[in-house]
């Protein structure tokens, strides 16, 4: 009897795992190769202060998702691993005014939140030294998750963190696999 119950529980666990979107056979992710380029990352004050706010705290719950403030330090810490060197600036340099091979400009296109999910859309533009557009790619990341007990703030933080993790992972993947940047290396 117990072995039958164990079978039921295993089947249910598998069903829940599949429904949650997690592959039972997790595949190890490969580490992206370093691009032999000197890069400049443009983190403008507007980008770093992007946030989504909703509600007044009286008739509707007050919600605040400071996506830009959370994203900027993480991008600054994570992206240098993809390049030979990376410097940060606050605005796009004038044509031929930088010694970087590629200039990366992120822009938050949209942020949208429900009680279940936070969706962040970031558009990446890569420019060459002369200011010509080499590559454009928008990525959409979503943060979901549940928290125990009550607490909208905790839920917002969890969604925020999850969305930012996904933005970083997708950005790294998109940048390191861009044919234009790979071509620039050669």
């Amino acid at each position: 009897m117990f072995s039958r119950n164990a079978l039921y529980i295993n089947v249910i666990g598998l069903l829940l795992l599949v429904s949650s979107g997690v592959s039972p056979l997790a595949v190890a992710q490969s580490v992206p190769a370093k691009l032999k380029l000197n890069a400049e990352l443009v983190l403008s004050p507007e980008f770093c202060s992007s946030e989504f706010k909703r509600g007044n705290g009286w008739t509707a719950a007050k919600e605040r998702y400071p996506v830009g403030a959370k994203l900027c330090p993480v991008l600054e810490a994570e992206l240098p691993a993809l390049f030979l060197s990376m410097k940060k600036s606050e605005q796009v340099p004038a044509p031929n005014a930088t010694n970087a091979d590629v200039i990366l400009v992120p822009k938050i296109q949209d942020i949208s939140a429900t009680m279940k999910e936070l969706v962040v859309e970031v558009e990446w533009t890569a420019l060459d030294r002369a200011g010509k557009t080499l590559w454009v790619q928008a990525i959409q990341a979503s943060g979901t998750g549940k928290v125990r007990g009550l607490g909208t703030g905790k839920l917002q933080r969890k969604h925020n963190e999850a969305a930012i993790d996904e933005v970083i992972a997708k950005s790294k993947d998109a940048i390191s696999s861009s044919p234009e940047l790979l071509k620039l290396v050669q």
């Binding site: 119950n5 949209d110 790619q137 861009s178």
Partner: protein, 253 residues
Amino acid sequence: MENPMLYLSRTRGTLVGARPPLAGVMRTCTPTEAYHRSVNQGSGRKPIGMRPHCYFVLALMALLPPFLCAASFPEYPAKTAKEYPGAQTIAGVTVGIEPLSDPAGQKHYFKEDFLKSNFLPVFVVVENASSGDRIIVKHDDIGVYAGEEKLAKSGPVASGRSTTGEAIAPVVEIGLSLPGMVVAGFLMARAADIRQNVVKKELRSSTLSPGQKDQGFVYLPLPKDPERRKHLRMRVRVMKVGSDEPIDFEFSL
């Protein structure tokens, strides 16, 4: 009512392989205990917290809501670019558009009537069928204009002025390719879910290799004057990587 699992753990030490001490002894017990005792008395089975089929019912309950949610905003059926009426091909790049002007269709896919907010959702498909060129599709380079004025050959249509300085009659200041944020601003008061659906269905900027395509909605602002709406034109601009010359596709709406 006592928790069945508590009952199980409390009694496990004494009742494994044995029947509950019912016979000849009258004592008070909880309804759960009575249920388990009555069930197990005849069969001699060990009491368990929940019947197996209950697990399946709970699992089904856990699985159902995502399916229901997914059904609430259906995906827009996309076709290849050439299948849309009036599709255009220039230098191996094909662009097809489909305005979703029918309020019933808008309600179906967005749960929203955009025309009330003076916006028109247009589904855009861009396919790169060129031999070797990569093209850049930027969401911000898709716009709408109205009237008899000539379209600026380059530069943002919203400015109403071409790069050569030639004045373009500013028939409308309807701006262009406003991100879904603006549209969704109108909708936000109604529901966050609707807004999120608007954002998710939006066309995203991308760089397309030969054989790739990009598709999604753009939400075009409409002039309030009905006369101007009759002469609306839409422009989709793409750029070849490494080239300064844009490729413009113009459509009547």
